[in-house]
Amino acid sequence: MKYVDYYKVLGLERNATEADIKKAYRGLAHKYHPDVSKEPDAENKFKEVAEAYATLKDPEKREAYDNLGRHQPGDDFVPPNQWQQNFNESSADFSDVDLSDLLKAFAEAQREGAANYARRPRHGETFEFTMPITLEQIYNGAETEISVAVPDYDSQGLLHRVPKTFRIRVPKGAADGQRLRLAGKGGQGMNGGQPGDLFVTMKVQPHRFYQVDGNDLTIEVPLAPWEAVLGATVEIPTLGGEVALTIPPGTVAGRKMRLSKRGLPGSGNVQGDLYAVITIEVPKSVTEREKALYTDLAAASTGFEPRRQRFAGGQS
Protein backbone atom coordinates (compact mmCIF):
# COMPACT_ATOMS: atom_id res chain seq x y z
CA MET A 1 0.00 0.00 0.00
CA LYS A 2 1.27 3.48 -0.84
CA TYR A 3 1.59 6.03 1.92
CA VAL A 4 -0.08 9.42 1.43
CA ASP A 5 0.88 12.34 3.68
CA TYR A 6 -2.52 13.87 4.35
CA TYR A 7 -1.06 16.64 6.50
CA LYS A 8 1.19 17.69 3.66
CA VAL A 9 -1.72 17.58 1.20
CA LEU A 10 -3.58 20.10 3.38
CA GLY A 11 -0.40 22.09 4.11
CA LEU A 12 -0.61 21.40 7.86
CA GLU A 13 1.66 20.36 10.71
CA ARG A 14 0.83 17.07 12.43
CA ASN A 15 -0.36 18.88 15.56
CA ALA A 16 -3.00 20.85 13.63
CA THR A 17 -6.28 21.45 15.45
CA GLU A 18 -9.71 20.51 14.06
CA ALA A 19 -10.25 24.19 13.27
CA ASP A 20 -6.93 24.32 11.37
CA ILE A 21 -7.94 21.25 9.36
CA LYS A 22 -11.33 22.68 8.45
CA LYS A 23 -9.84 26.03 7.49
CA ALA A 24 -7.17 24.43 5.30
CA TYR A 25 -9.75 22.19 3.61
CA ARG A 26 -12.09 25.11 2.90
CA GLY A 27 -9.31 27.17 1.37
CA LEU A 28 -8.20 24.33 -0.91
CA ALA A 29 -11.78 23.27 -1.73
CA HIS A 30 -12.59 26.81 -2.88
CA LYS A 31 -9.52 26.67 -5.10
CA TYR A 32 -9.81 23.16 -6.51
CA HIS A 33 -13.44 22.01 -6.27
CA PRO A 34 -14.13 20.76 -9.81
CA ASP A 35 -17.56 22.38 -9.93
CA VAL A 36 -16.21 25.88 -9.29
CA SER A 37 -12.52 25.77 -10.19
CA LYS A 38 -10.83 26.69 -13.45
CA GLU A 39 -7.46 25.37 -12.23
CA PRO A 40 -5.83 22.75 -14.44
CA ASP A 41 -6.17 19.24 -12.99
CA ALA A 42 -8.57 20.58 -10.35
CA GLU A 43 -10.46 17.28 -10.18
CA ASN A 44 -7.42 15.22 -9.14
CA LYS A 45 -6.17 17.88 -6.76
CA PHE A 46 -9.55 18.14 -5.09
CA LYS A 47 -9.75 14.36 -4.80
CA GLU A 48 -6.49 14.36 -2.80
CA VAL A 49 -7.71 17.24 -0.64
CA ALA A 50 -11.10 15.59 0.01
CA GLU A 51 -9.44 12.28 0.94
CA ALA A 52 -7.10 14.04 3.33
CA TYR A 53 -9.96 15.98 4.92
CA ALA A 54 -12.20 12.90 5.19
CA THR A 55 -9.44 11.21 7.20
CA LEU A 56 -8.18 14.07 9.36
CA LYS A 57 -11.58 15.55 10.30
CA ASP A 58 -12.69 12.22 11.79
CA PRO A 59 -10.92 11.70 15.18
CA GLU A 60 -10.98 7.89 14.89
CA LYS A 61 -9.64 7.87 11.35
CA ARG A 62 -7.06 10.49 12.22
CA GLU A 63 -5.83 8.47 15.20
CA ALA A 64 -5.61 5.33 13.06
CA TYR A 65 -3.76 7.29 10.40
CA ASP A 66 -1.38 8.90 12.93
CA ASN A 67 -0.59 5.44 14.33
CA LEU A 68 0.81 4.46 10.95
CA GLY A 69 3.78 6.65 11.81
CA ARG A 70 5.63 8.87 9.38
CA HIS A 71 6.61 7.70 5.96
CA GLN A 72 7.61 9.43 2.77
CA PRO A 73 4.69 10.00 0.36
CA GLY A 74 4.53 7.08 -2.07
CA ASP A 75 6.44 4.70 0.26
CA ASP A 76 5.11 1.14 0.40
CA PHE A 77 3.97 0.02 3.84
CA VAL A 78 1.88 -2.74 5.44
CA PRO A 79 -1.01 -1.76 7.72
CA PRO A 80 -0.88 -2.84 11.37
CA ASN A 81 -2.27 -6.21 12.49
CA GLN A 82 -5.30 -4.59 14.12
CA TRP A 83 -6.41 -3.29 10.72
CA GLN A 84 -5.87 -6.60 9.05
CA GLN A 85 -8.07 -8.35 11.63
CA ASN A 86 -11.05 -6.42 10.29
CA PHE A 87 -10.69 -8.40 7.13
CA ASN A 88 -10.38 -11.72 9.06
CA GLU A 89 -7.72 -13.10 6.77
CA SER A 90 -4.07 -12.96 7.63
CA SER A 91 -3.33 -13.55 3.96
CA ALA A 92 -5.14 -10.40 2.84
CA ASP A 93 -3.28 -8.67 0.01
CA PHE A 94 -2.89 -4.97 0.77
CA SER A 95 -0.36 -4.25 -1.94
CA ASP A 96 -2.68 -2.36 -4.29
CA VAL A 97 -5.23 -1.21 -1.74
CA ASP A 98 -5.91 2.52 -1.63
CA LEU A 99 -5.12 4.04 1.78
CA SER A 100 -8.28 6.17 1.82
CA ASP A 101 -10.47 3.13 1.01
CA LEU A 102 -8.85 1.18 3.82
CA LEU A 103 -9.13 4.01 6.37
CA LYS A 104 -12.81 4.38 5.53
CA ALA A 105 -13.39 0.64 5.96
CA PHE A 106 -11.34 0.61 9.15
CA ALA A 107 -13.31 3.46 10.74
CA GLU A 108 -16.64 1.90 9.78
CA ALA A 109 -15.56 -1.48 11.12
CA GLN A 110 -14.47 0.15 14.40
CA ARG A 111 -17.84 1.84 14.79
CA GLU A 112 -20.06 -1.03 13.75
CA GLY A 113 -17.94 -3.94 14.92
CA ALA A 114 -16.06 -6.04 12.41
CA ALA A 115 -18.81 -8.69 12.14
CA ASN A 116 -21.57 -6.17 11.39
CA TYR A 117 -19.37 -4.31 8.94
CA ALA A 118 -18.56 -7.54 7.13
CA ARG A 119 -22.29 -8.29 6.63
CA ARG A 120 -23.67 -4.84 5.87
CA PRO A 121 -24.63 -4.09 2.25
CA ARG A 122 -22.30 -1.46 0.82
CA HIS A 123 -22.93 0.54 -2.32
CA GLY A 124 -20.21 0.80 -4.91
CA GLU A 125 -18.51 4.12 -5.49
CA THR A 126 -19.48 6.37 -8.39
CA PHE A 127 -16.74 7.91 -10.51
CA GLU A 128 -16.44 10.68 -13.06
CA PHE A 129 -14.04 10.62 -15.97
CA THR A 130 -13.21 12.83 -18.88
CA MET A 131 -13.03 11.15 -22.27
CA PRO A 132 -11.05 12.89 -25.02
CA ILE A 133 -12.76 12.86 -28.42
CA THR A 134 -11.56 14.19 -31.74
CA LEU A 135 -13.35 16.35 -34.28
CA GLU A 136 -13.10 13.42 -36.72
CA GLN A 137 -15.01 11.24 -34.24
CA ILE A 138 -17.73 13.88 -33.90
CA TYR A 139 -17.93 14.29 -37.67
CA ASN A 140 -18.15 10.61 -38.52
CA GLY A 141 -19.43 9.04 -35.30
CA ALA A 142 -17.17 6.39 -33.79
CA GLU A 143 -16.59 3.83 -31.12
CA THR A 144 -13.89 4.59 -28.62
CA GLU A 145 -12.51 2.89 -25.56
CA ILE A 146 -12.05 4.29 -22.10
CA SER A 147 -9.88 2.55 -19.51
CA VAL A 148 -10.50 3.28 -15.85
CA ALA A 149 -9.44 1.75 -12.56
CA VAL A 150 -12.51 1.07 -10.42
CA PRO A 151 -12.53 -0.50 -6.96
CA ASP A 152 -13.78 -4.08 -6.67
CA TYR A 153 -14.05 -6.03 -3.41
CA ASP A 154 -11.98 -9.17 -3.06
CA SER A 155 -13.10 -12.22 -1.05
CA GLN A 156 -11.80 -10.62 2.16
CA GLY A 157 -13.80 -7.46 1.62
CA LEU A 158 -10.79 -5.39 0.61
CA LEU A 159 -11.15 -2.87 -2.17
CA HIS A 160 -8.66 -3.22 -5.01
CA ARG A 161 -8.45 -0.88 -7.97
CA VAL A 162 -9.09 -3.04 -11.01
CA PRO A 163 -8.45 -1.70 -14.52
CA LYS A 164 -11.46 -2.05 -16.81
CA THR A 165 -11.96 -0.97 -20.38
CA PHE A 166 -15.32 0.06 -21.78
CA ARG A 167 -16.18 0.60 -25.42
CA ILE A 168 -18.40 3.62 -25.89
CA ARG A 169 -20.21 4.75 -29.01
CA VAL A 170 -19.62 8.41 -29.81
CA PRO A 171 -22.64 9.44 -31.86
CA LYS A 172 -22.24 11.68 -34.90
CA GLY A 173 -22.74 15.24 -33.68
CA ALA A 174 -21.62 14.69 -30.08
CA ALA A 175 -20.73 17.97 -28.39
CA ASP A 176 -17.92 19.17 -26.16
CA GLY A 177 -18.97 18.74 -22.53
CA GLN A 178 -21.65 16.18 -23.40
CA ARG A 179 -22.11 13.78 -20.51
CA LEU A 180 -23.20 10.20 -20.39
CA ARG A 181 -23.82 7.66 -17.68
CA LEU A 182 -22.66 4.07 -17.62
CA ALA A 183 -25.11 2.63 -15.14
CA GLY A 184 -23.64 0.14 -12.67
CA LYS A 185 -20.14 0.28 -14.17
CA GLY A 186 -18.50 2.09 -11.23
CA GLY A 187 -17.28 0.46 -8.04
CA GLN A 188 -18.65 -2.93 -7.19
CA GLY A 189 -21.24 -3.24 -4.38
CA MET A 190 -20.79 -5.64 -1.46
CA ASN A 191 -23.29 -7.84 0.37
CA GLY A 192 -26.10 -6.98 -2.03
CA GLY A 193 -25.27 -3.24 -2.24
CA GLN A 194 -25.83 -1.60 -5.63
CA PRO A 195 -22.79 -1.02 -7.86
CA GLY A 196 -21.81 2.60 -8.51
CA ASP A 197 -22.01 4.37 -11.86
CA LEU A 198 -19.45 5.85 -14.19
CA PHE A 199 -20.12 9.36 -15.48
CA VAL A 200 -18.17 10.33 -18.56
CA THR A 201 -17.70 13.87 -19.88
CA MET A 202 -16.61 14.23 -23.49
CA LYS A 203 -13.80 16.70 -24.03
CA VAL A 204 -13.01 17.74 -27.59
CA GLN A 205 -9.28 17.72 -28.22
CA PRO A 206 -7.60 20.69 -29.91
CA HIS A 207 -7.13 20.12 -33.64
CA ARG A 208 -4.06 21.15 -35.59
CA PHE A 209 -6.16 22.75 -38.36
CA TYR A 210 -9.50 23.78 -36.94
CA GLN A 211 -10.80 26.05 -34.23
CA VAL A 212 -14.26 25.18 -32.96
CA ASP A 213 -17.13 27.58 -32.29
CA GLY A 214 -20.27 25.56 -31.62
CA ASN A 215 -20.88 23.59 -34.82
CA ASP A 216 -18.77 25.95 -36.91
CA LEU A 217 -15.10 25.45 -37.67
CA THR A 218 -12.44 27.93 -38.68
CA ILE A 219 -9.30 27.09 -40.63
CA GLU A 220 -6.42 29.37 -41.57
CA VAL A 221 -5.53 29.20 -45.26
CA PRO A 222 -2.09 30.63 -46.08
CA LEU A 223 -1.60 32.06 -49.57
CA ALA A 224 1.49 33.11 -51.49
CA PRO A 225 1.43 36.86 -52.34
CA TRP A 226 0.89 36.15 -56.05
CA GLU A 227 -2.04 33.80 -55.28
CA ALA A 228 -3.67 36.60 -53.27
CA VAL A 229 -3.13 39.14 -56.07
CA LEU A 230 -3.91 36.99 -59.08
CA GLY A 231 -6.45 34.61 -57.55
CA ALA A 232 -6.06 30.84 -57.41
CA THR A 233 -7.76 27.56 -56.69
CA VAL A 234 -6.33 25.95 -53.56
CA GLU A 235 -7.10 22.65 -51.92
CA ILE A 236 -7.96 22.79 -48.23
CA PRO A 237 -8.64 19.94 -45.81
CA THR A 238 -12.16 19.54 -44.45
CA LEU A 239 -13.38 16.81 -42.12
CA GLY A 240 -15.17 15.27 -45.09
CA GLY A 241 -12.07 15.34 -47.35
CA GLU A 242 -10.22 17.92 -49.40
CA VAL A 243 -12.16 20.59 -51.25
CA ALA A 244 -11.04 23.09 -53.89
CA LEU A 245 -11.48 26.67 -52.73
CA THR A 246 -11.52 29.45 -55.33
CA ILE A 247 -9.55 32.48 -54.20
CA PRO A 248 -10.70 35.60 -56.07
CA PRO A 249 -8.08 38.03 -57.42
CA GLY A 250 -7.20 40.77 -54.92
CA THR A 251 -7.90 38.70 -51.80
CA VAL A 252 -6.60 40.40 -48.66
CA ALA A 253 -5.28 38.85 -45.46
CA GLY A 254 -8.06 38.29 -42.94
CA ARG A 255 -10.73 37.69 -45.56
CA LYS A 256 -13.17 35.11 -44.29
CA MET A 257 -14.79 32.68 -46.72
CA ARG A 258 -17.67 30.46 -45.74
CA LEU A 259 -17.92 26.86 -46.89
CA SER A 260 -21.52 26.01 -46.17
CA LYS A 261 -22.25 22.80 -44.23
CA ARG A 262 -18.61 21.74 -44.04
CA GLY A 263 -18.52 22.15 -40.25
CA LEU A 264 -19.60 19.81 -37.49
CA PRO A 265 -22.92 18.00 -37.39
CA GLY A 266 -25.20 18.98 -34.51
CA SER A 267 -28.38 17.58 -33.07
CA GLY A 268 -31.19 17.01 -35.59
CA ASN A 269 -30.22 17.88 -39.13
CA VAL A 270 -28.05 20.83 -38.17
CA GLN A 271 -24.69 21.03 -39.92
CA GLY A 272 -22.24 23.80 -39.11
CA ASP A 273 -20.15 25.76 -41.59
CA LEU A 274 -16.41 25.88 -42.20
CA TYR A 275 -14.81 29.31 -42.33
CA ALA A 276 -11.55 29.70 -44.24
CA VAL A 277 -9.56 32.70 -43.01
CA ILE A 278 -6.90 33.93 -45.40
CA THR A 279 -3.37 34.69 -44.31
CA ILE A 280 -0.65 35.80 -46.69
CA GLU A 281 2.79 34.33 -46.23
CA VAL A 282 6.01 35.64 -47.67
CA PRO A 283 9.14 33.61 -48.40
CA LYS A 284 11.80 33.86 -45.68
CA SER A 285 14.55 33.93 -48.31
CA VAL A 286 14.46 34.63 -52.02
CA THR A 287 16.72 33.79 -54.93
CA GLU A 288 18.54 36.49 -56.85
CA ARG A 289 16.05 36.14 -59.68
CA GLU A 290 13.06 36.44 -57.32
CA LYS A 291 14.66 39.47 -55.72
CA ALA A 292 15.10 41.06 -59.10
CA LEU A 293 11.49 40.35 -60.03
CA TYR A 294 10.23 41.83 -56.72
CA THR A 295 12.37 44.90 -57.36
CA ASP A 296 10.87 45.24 -60.84
CA LEU A 297 7.41 44.75 -59.34
CA ALA A 298 8.03 47.46 -56.75
CA ALA A 299 9.15 49.84 -59.47
CA ALA A 300 6.15 49.02 -61.64
CA SER A 301 3.52 49.28 -58.84
CA THR A 302 3.24 53.04 -58.74
CA GLY A 303 -0.49 53.15 -58.00
CA PHE A 304 -0.49 50.91 -54.94
CA GLU A 305 0.25 52.80 -51.74
CA PRO A 306 -1.33 50.84 -48.89
CA ARG A 307 -0.29 53.26 -46.08
CA ARG A 308 -1.25 56.45 -47.81
CA GLN A 309 -4.95 56.47 -46.91
CA ARG A 310 -4.47 54.61 -43.59
CA PHE A 311 -2.08 57.19 -42.18
CA ALA A 312 -3.51 60.20 -43.96
CA GLY A 313 -3.82 63.26 -41.68
CA GLY A 314 -0.99 62.37 -39.29
CA GLN A 315 -1.38 61.08 -35.71
CA SER A 316 -4.07 63.43 -34.43
Binding site: D35, A50, R167, R181, T218, K256, Y275
Partner: protein, 108 residues
Amino acid sequence: MSVQITETIWLNNDEVCSLQHVAAVSGLSEADVMDLVATGVLAPVSGEATSSMFYTECIVVARKARRLRDDFELNADGVALVLNLLRRVDALESELLGLRPKQGNRQY
Protein backbone atom coordinates in the same frame (compact mmCIF):
# COMPACT_ATOMS: atom_id res chain seq x y z
CA MET B 1 -7.79 -6.72 -19.88
CA SER B 2 -11.29 -7.47 -21.12
CA VAL B 3 -13.26 -4.86 -23.01
CA GLN B 4 -16.87 -4.40 -22.03
CA ILE B 5 -19.21 -3.04 -24.66
CA THR B 6 -21.63 -1.07 -22.63
CA GLU B 7 -24.89 0.75 -23.09
CA THR B 8 -24.62 4.42 -22.29
CA ILE B 9 -27.31 6.78 -21.14
CA TRP B 10 -26.98 10.26 -22.62
CA LEU B 11 -27.61 13.05 -20.17
CA ASN B 12 -29.24 15.56 -22.52
CA ASN B 13 -32.46 17.43 -23.16
CA ASP B 14 -33.96 14.75 -25.39
CA GLU B 15 -34.37 11.84 -23.01
CA VAL B 16 -36.69 11.97 -20.03
CA CYS B 17 -36.58 10.32 -16.60
CA SER B 18 -38.59 10.33 -13.38
CA LEU B 19 -38.08 12.32 -10.19
CA GLN B 20 -37.22 9.06 -8.43
CA HIS B 21 -34.53 8.34 -11.02
CA VAL B 22 -32.96 11.81 -10.64
CA ALA B 23 -32.91 11.33 -6.86
CA ALA B 24 -31.47 7.80 -6.99
CA VAL B 25 -28.70 8.65 -9.45
CA SER B 26 -27.72 11.99 -7.91
CA GLY B 27 -27.74 10.88 -4.28
CA LEU B 28 -30.23 13.61 -3.32
CA SER B 29 -33.59 12.90 -1.72
CA GLU B 30 -36.76 13.51 -3.75
CA ALA B 31 -37.50 16.45 -1.43
CA ASP B 32 -34.04 17.90 -2.18
CA VAL B 33 -34.72 17.61 -5.92
CA MET B 34 -38.08 19.36 -5.55
CA ASP B 35 -36.33 22.09 -3.52
CA LEU B 36 -34.08 22.66 -6.55
CA VAL B 37 -37.22 22.92 -8.69
CA ALA B 38 -38.75 25.44 -6.28
CA THR B 39 -35.62 27.62 -6.42
CA GLY B 40 -35.51 27.50 -10.22
CA VAL B 41 -32.31 25.46 -10.46
CA LEU B 42 -34.08 22.50 -12.07
CA ALA B 43 -37.08 22.62 -14.39
CA PRO B 44 -39.39 19.65 -14.96
CA VAL B 45 -40.20 18.70 -18.55
CA SER B 46 -43.63 20.34 -18.63
CA GLY B 47 -42.35 23.49 -16.94
CA GLU B 48 -44.85 23.01 -14.11
CA ALA B 49 -43.30 22.74 -10.65
CA THR B 50 -45.58 19.84 -9.78
CA SER B 51 -44.45 17.68 -12.71
CA SER B 52 -42.23 14.76 -11.80
CA MET B 53 -40.56 14.11 -15.16
CA PHE B 54 -37.16 15.61 -16.00
CA TYR B 55 -34.75 15.65 -18.91
CA THR B 56 -31.79 13.44 -18.15
CA GLU B 57 -29.45 16.47 -18.25
CA CYS B 58 -31.01 17.43 -14.88
CA ILE B 59 -29.04 14.55 -13.39
CA VAL B 60 -25.83 16.49 -14.08
CA VAL B 61 -27.12 19.52 -12.15
CA ALA B 62 -28.56 17.39 -9.33
CA ARG B 63 -25.24 15.59 -8.89
CA LYS B 64 -23.43 18.91 -8.84
CA ALA B 65 -25.89 20.12 -6.17
CA ARG B 66 -25.21 17.04 -4.07
CA ARG B 67 -21.45 17.48 -4.36
CA LEU B 68 -21.60 21.18 -3.44
CA ARG B 69 -23.90 20.42 -0.50
CA ASP B 70 -21.60 17.69 0.84
CA ASP B 71 -18.21 19.23 0.06
CA PHE B 72 -18.99 22.75 1.31
CA GLU B 73 -21.57 21.76 3.94
CA LEU B 74 -24.16 24.04 2.31
CA ASN B 75 -27.86 24.19 3.07
CA ALA B 76 -30.52 24.13 0.33
CA ASP B 77 -30.51 27.92 -0.13
CA GLY B 78 -26.72 27.98 -0.33
CA VAL B 79 -26.71 25.24 -2.97
CA ALA B 80 -29.35 27.03 -5.04
CA LEU B 81 -27.45 30.33 -4.79
CA VAL B 82 -24.17 28.74 -5.87
CA LEU B 83 -25.76 26.88 -8.77
CA ASN B 84 -27.59 29.97 -10.03
CA LEU B 85 -24.38 32.02 -9.79
CA LEU B 86 -22.39 29.31 -11.59
CA ARG B 87 -25.00 29.32 -14.34
CA ARG B 88 -24.65 33.11 -14.68
CA VAL B 89 -20.85 32.80 -14.77
CA ASP B 90 -21.12 30.20 -17.54
CA ALA B 91 -23.52 32.39 -19.53
CA LEU B 92 -21.29 35.46 -19.13
CA GLU B 93 -18.18 33.51 -20.11
CA SER B 94 -19.92 32.24 -23.25
CA GLU B 95 -21.03 35.79 -24.06
CA LEU B 96 -17.51 37.08 -23.52
CA LEU B 97 -16.10 34.39 -25.78
CA GLY B 98 -18.60 35.40 -28.47
CA LEU B 99 -17.60 39.06 -28.21
CA ARG B 100 -13.88 38.44 -28.62
CA PRO B 101 -12.69 39.48 -32.06
CA LYS B 102 -12.53 36.44 -34.26
CA GLN B 103 -10.09 35.77 -37.01
CA GLY B 104 -11.05 37.32 -40.28
CA ASN B 105 -12.86 40.52 -41.03
CA ARG B 106 -14.60 39.99 -44.31
CA GLN B 107 -17.16 37.50 -45.35
CA TYR B 108 -18.93 36.71 -48.52
